[in-house]
C-alpha cells in the first residue's frame, strides 16, 4: 500500500478510561498512546524520551500494569483503564510515591520522573521486588540521565516499607 493513501483509512473508534474519565475517541490507527496523551488529551505529564521503548519516560499504568505508552497504539486499547501521573495525585494531594520522590529528592530535572513514579507504583503492585537489589534490577527500564538512581531506590524502598507496615497493621486488626 502506498503510504500516502494511508490517511484515507477511516479513523477508529475506541473508548478509553483515562484517570477515571471515559473518553470516546476517533483516532488514526498509527497514533501511539503516548502521542494521544501528550497531544489531543493535553496530559503532558507523560513524557517522551525516545519513542522507541528504550527509556521508560512514557511509562503509564494500563489496567494497573506498567507499560511504555510509546509502544502501544491507542486503537489497540479499547476498553482499557489508563492511569497517568496526573491520575496518581495532584500537587496538593500527592500519591505516597510522589511524596516519597519529593522527600528523597529522587529527581533533578524531573523529566524521567513521571515515568519512574508510574513504574515504581506498578512495581510495588507486581510484588516481585523484595530487596534493594531487586528494585534496581526491575526499575532498569526507566533511565534517569540526571543520575538520581540512589535516591529513587530510597524513595521506592521507603514506600515499600510503608506498605509493608500498613499490611502488618491491617493483618493484626
Amino acid at each position: 500500500m502506498d503510504i500516502t493513501t494511508a490517511d484515507r483509512q477511516p479513523k477508529n473508534r475506541v473508548a478509553l478510561t483515562i484517570n477515571g474519565d471515559r473518553h470516546d475517541l476517533e483516532i488514526h490507527p498509527w497514533v501511539t498512546l503516548l502521542d494521544l496523551l501528550r497531544g489531543p488529551m493535553q496530559l503532558s505529564g507523560t513524557k517522551k524520551g525516545c519513542d522507541h521503548g528504550q527509556c521508560g519516560a512514557c511509562t503509564v499504568l494500563i489496567d494497573g500494569e506498567r507499560m511504555n505508552s510509546c509502544l502501544k497504539f491507542a486503537v489497540t486499547l479499547d476498553g482499557a483503564e489508563i492511569t497517568t501521573i496526573e491520575g496518581l495525585g495532584r500537587p496538593e494531594n500527592m500519591h505516597p510515591m510522589q511524596k516519597a520522590f519529593v522527600e528523597h529528592d529522587a529527581y533533578q530535572c524531573g523529566y524521567c520522573t513521571p515515568g519512574q513514579i508510574c513504574s515504581a507504583v506498578g512495581l510495588l503492585k507486581e510484588g516481585k521486588a523484595g530487596t534493594r537489589e531487586e528494585i534496581r534490577e526491575m526499575m532498569s527500564g526507566n533511565l534517569c540521565r540526571c543520575g538520581a538512581y540512589v535516591n529513587i531506590a530510597d524513595a521506592i524502598e521507603d514506600v515499600m516499607g510503608q506498605e509493608a507496615r500498613c499490611g502488618i497493621r491491617e493483618a493484626a486488626e
Binding site: A6, V102, D105, C109, Y111, A148
Partner: protein, 750 residues
Amino acid sequence: MLNEKNIFGFPLPRIDGPLKTTGTAPYAAEYHDPGMLFGHAFYATIASGRIVSIDTAKAEAYPGVVKVYTHKNRPDTASSDDAWKDEVAVPGHPLRPLENDRILYDGQPIALVIAESFEAARDAADLIQVAYEADEPHTNIEVEKAKSYVPPEARKEAFLPTDPRGDAEGAYEAAPFKIDAEYVQEGEHHNPMELFGTTVIRGEDGYLTVHDKTQGSQNSHDYVCGIFKLKPETVRVVNAYVGGAFGSGLRPKHQLFFAVMASLDLKRSVRVEMSRREMFYLTWRPATVQRMQVAADAEGRLMSVRHHAVQATSLYEDYQENVVNWSGLAYKCDNVKLSYELAKTTLSTPGDMRAPGAATGFLALESAIDELAYKVGMDPLEFRVKNFVTYDQNDDLKLTSKALDACYREGAKRFGWSKRSQEPGSMRDGHDLVGWGTATGVWEATLSPAEAKVRLFPDGKITVMAAASDIGTGTYTILAQIAAQNLGQTADRVSVLIGDSTMPKTAVEGGSWTAASSGSAVQAGCLEVKKTLLSLAQKMENSPLAGAEVEDLAIRDNRLVLDKNDQMGLAIADILGSNGMSSVEGHGKIAPDEEQAKEWVSYTHSAIFVEVKIDAELGVPRVTKIVSAIAAGKIINPKTARSQILGGVVMGLGMAMQEEGMIDHRTGRIMNHNLAEYHIPAHADVQDIEVIFVEEEDDKASPIGVKGLGEIGIVGVGAAVANAIFHATGTRHRHFPITIDKIMEGLPAR
C-alpha cells in the same frame, strides 16, 4: 515567621518538587495552542559532500502537510556570521540550517516538514528523496590527529595552555621513575532525557512567546532576534522547566531556528521537537587523544609533567576546552609543559558537556598519576597527599580556599582505604576480583555577572525574579532559601520567577556558576530591599530606627527590627503604608571582582574512592561502592547539593565504562544513535554512592560563600574507576570507555 527551614544548610525539599512529581511542570514541547502546526526535521545520511537534488513533491502531497522547507526555499535570514553567533559561540562559522547544499556532518538537518499533526510531519519526512555527491569522511580522531593544529583563534584566553615552567624535558630525563602513556577517549553524547523542543505561540499581534529547551532564555532570545531581525520587545523566550541539558542546551539548537522560522513564515503557532536520533547529531563531548609524560623522584615527589591533548572539532567551528591546564595546578610541580591542539573531523561541532575539559583532562592526568605512584611503589593516595599544592602554580595565584586535604582524610576514612593492599589482584571477594581506586578532581569556581529583582510585600510574601535557569540543579529552591534567609521569612513565602528572557539579565546556566552568581544577586537585591525600608522607616515620625544602620537590621515577624533588640522596630506593613506603597523592590547586581582576581583564584576540589568487583572468569564489572568527598565552600541545600554530586558521579561511571558514540569510520556515520545501543548507566548499574561535603570556609569565592557543584561531581570519576580496575586485574586500560570486552582481555591468566 522565622524558623530553621529557611536558613542556609537546611535540606529543604525542592519547591518545584510537587509540580515535577505530578506531571504538572510544563517543559518546552508541552505548551498547546489551537491550530498549532508541527515540524519534523529531515537529516542528511552522508557525512560530507553536497546535495545534488532534493525531491519534496511526495512529502508536500502527503495529507496534512503545510510546507516543506529546504535550502531552496528557506526564508531570508541575517547574512553575517556575527548575527548567528550566540552568547557562547566558539570561533568559526556557526551552522545556519538550510543555508546551502553543503553537508558538513552525518545527521545535518537538510529539510523541515511542517504539518497539521506531528504524525503527518514525521511520516511525510520519510518521503523526501535526496541525491548526494559524497566526499570522503574523516571521523577517526586517532587518524585525524596526524593533521592536528593549534587553533588560530582561542575560544577564551583562559583555555590557552599556560606557559611552560622549569625544564620539563630535562627533569623527566633525569628522574628515576617515569610514565609515558597515551589515553584515548571516544566521543560522548549528552542525551538529556527531554528531547530538544521549541513551541512558538504566536499572538494575534505577531508577538512570539517561545518555549525553548535551553540553558539560557536570553541567549535564545538574542539569537532569534539577531537572525530574524526581530525587535527584542516582540519576542519572549521561556524555559521554565528544562529536562536536563548538561551543557547541550548552552548554544541554541536547530529546532529553535526551525520553529521560529516556520512561525514567522506561516504566521501560525509551531512546535518542533527532535527525535532521540537527532539528539546524537549535535553538541557532543569530543573524542580526545592525550599523551601524558610524568616523572617522580625516589621519595615520590612529582618532578615533571607534560600533557598534550588533541581533540576533535568540526569543519566549520573550532570548539575548544581547557583540557591540559589542570595538569599544571593539580599538584606541586616545578617543571611543566602543556599543549593543546584540534583535529578537524566531518562531525558536528562538539560542545560543553558536564565539566568540559576537566572531565577529559583528569581522565588522563589521574590515570597517569596512579601509574606513577605504582612505579615509585607508593600508595596512590599517599602519593597525591605528598604532592599537595597550596596555590595555583600556573598563574602564581593564591587560592581562596582548598580543603582537599580534608576530602582525602574524610573520604579515605569513610571508604576504609587503610584496609587496601597495594598489590594488584590481591583483593578478592569469593569469585570476584576486588579493586580499589582513587582520583582527585578540580573545577573552577567562577562568578558570572548576574542581576535579580526581589520584591517584598507587607504580608511577608517575597517574589524573586531573574532570567536564571533551573536545569535540574535546584535553582528555584536555593534562590527561595537565599531570599527567605535574607528577609527573615520561610521559603514557602517566596515565589521564584525564573526561566524567562524578560527577567533581569543572567548569563546562560553553565560552568557551575548559577548558585554563586544568581544567589549573590538575590542577596544583593534583599539588601537593597532592606536599605529602602530603612530609609522609608527613618522618614517616619519618632522612628525607633532613626539612628540605625542597615547592618544592624533584621526582619522578624514581618517587622523591620534591630537585630540585637527586636523590640525596637516597625511593621513592614506600616512602613509601606505610611509611604503609600504596596510593596518594596530591590534590584541586585553582581559582577566578578577584577581586583581580587589579580591575586586570588577559586576552585572546587574532590577526592573519589571507588570499589569495583570483577568476575574473575567473565570480566563482568560492577562498581559496588563510591565515596565522593567534595570541598565546595558553603552548601546552601545539602539535599539538592548531594543530588548534583550523585548525578555527576553517575555520569562519570558512564564515561568510564559505557558511553561511546560509535562511528562507522568508512562512512563517517554514527551507528548507535539510540538509547538501546548508546549505553548510559541504568538503575542496576548504580549501587551505593556516598557524598561527603567537607567544611570549607570561603569569603572570597562569591559574596554568599558558595562555589558551585554542577561539574565537580564528575571530575576524576573515570580515572578512579580505571585505577580500581587496574588494582583488581593488574591491567592498565587507557582507551575509554573501559567496556566489558576490554576488561575480559585484560583479566589475569588463571
